[in-house]
Symmetry: C2
Subunit: 204 residues, 2 copies
């Protein structure tokens, strides 16, 4: 991802937060014959080990060819159109503000069933929360076995992370405030979230 | 994208609508040395010509290598976590419902300035609307010239489209209704939009 300097995020805490908040990622890889393919799946980051965990349907042909392949996992944050009509001058053009983290890495298939189950448990805990009635370990073993046969666990060893937060940092404080006001008026959650990120970055 | 049959969208009108509603796309291609790269930009579909139009910053290194390259443009629709705790049985697992359109094509750089200006005008018209005070043609020619020097127009000849709408079609009507009820309760717009799509597909 091309990231002009004002938009680059380097703070690992912010990067990890964006990954955590937007974990329904786009996993891109090459299949045989150098054609691109992508799958939409949740990916969880283990930041101490610099590894992403996820799983895909066994029938998904992308799975078979992931072993030892370079992948790109894209975590999409909020994004919104920015109209130059909000600015104090007409001498400007529209743009798009957005947050995105691109994680490069090498994929391998999780062969160890315990490791796969652990990553499924973590995924469920994240989305269900502590108080959910639903946990894998409470389920019938035969049922779980059948489910696990239907998926392939994926582990991605991270080699590089690129992170962009395009939040009008290249504009004046006056103009940023005008943009925030307009975004806060909108009923669109993406616009509101970008406004929040812009506000937090006003004094950065 | 692996699309099990119940989730495949084949109606071109629905596909075009998803592209139109989610035009801030992820443009994926290979750079030299077969590494993957992606840029987030709005792309507009000309469905009669089966072409996507967009532009990227001239400084973006992805631009130079796009000429004649195979690309994948991903249009992300709404997406949301589906908890099995909403179901009438505990014998099930979490999933994610989502809409996504993957457009494959061959990229070329727009060399004709008139063609580039036309695509910029269309993009602005789409997002600004007819009543906006902002139009490229109302602006100072020198200013526009400078802007146009800073970007590269991209034209993508579409070769294949894959479209997925994962909306619990593989579950019972009773269960779909339970899911819709829970999604409609949420304050998350993505969840509400998936509920709307599910409701429209109940009798499909």
């Amino acid at each position: 991802m091309y990231t002009p300097k004002p938009f680059a995020i380097t703070d690992p805490n912010i990067i990890n937060q964006i990954i955590y908040d937007n974990s329904f990622a786009t996993l891109v890889s090459e299949t045989e014959g150098s054609s691109l393919t992508a799958t939409h799946i949740p990916l969880l980051l283990n930041s101490s080990e610099q590894v992403l965990f996820g799983h895909i349907a066994r029938q998904n042909p992308q799975g078979e060819v992931l072993e030892n392949k370079k992948i790109l996992a894209i975590f999409h944050g909020p994004h919104t159109y920015i109209s130059p009509s909000w600015y104090e001058t007409k001498k400007s053009v529209p743009t798009w503000n957005y947050l995105s983290v691109h994680v490069y890495g090498k994929a391998s298939l999780v062969q160890n069933e315990e490791e796969l189950r652990k990553s499924l448990d973590e995924l469920i805990l994240k989305y269900e929360g502590e108080e959910s009635p639903f946990f894998l370990r409470n389920m019938d073993e035969k049922y779980i076995d059948a489910l696990i046969k239907g998926i392939i666990g994926i582990k991605i060893k991270i080699t590089k992370i690129e992170a962009t937060a395009k939040l009008s940092q290249n504009h004046s404080l006056e103009r940023k405030n005008l943009v925030i006001q307009e975004l806060e008026k909108q009923k669109d959650q993406n616009a509101n979230e970008i406004a929040k990120w812009m506000r937090e970055n006003l004094n950065a």
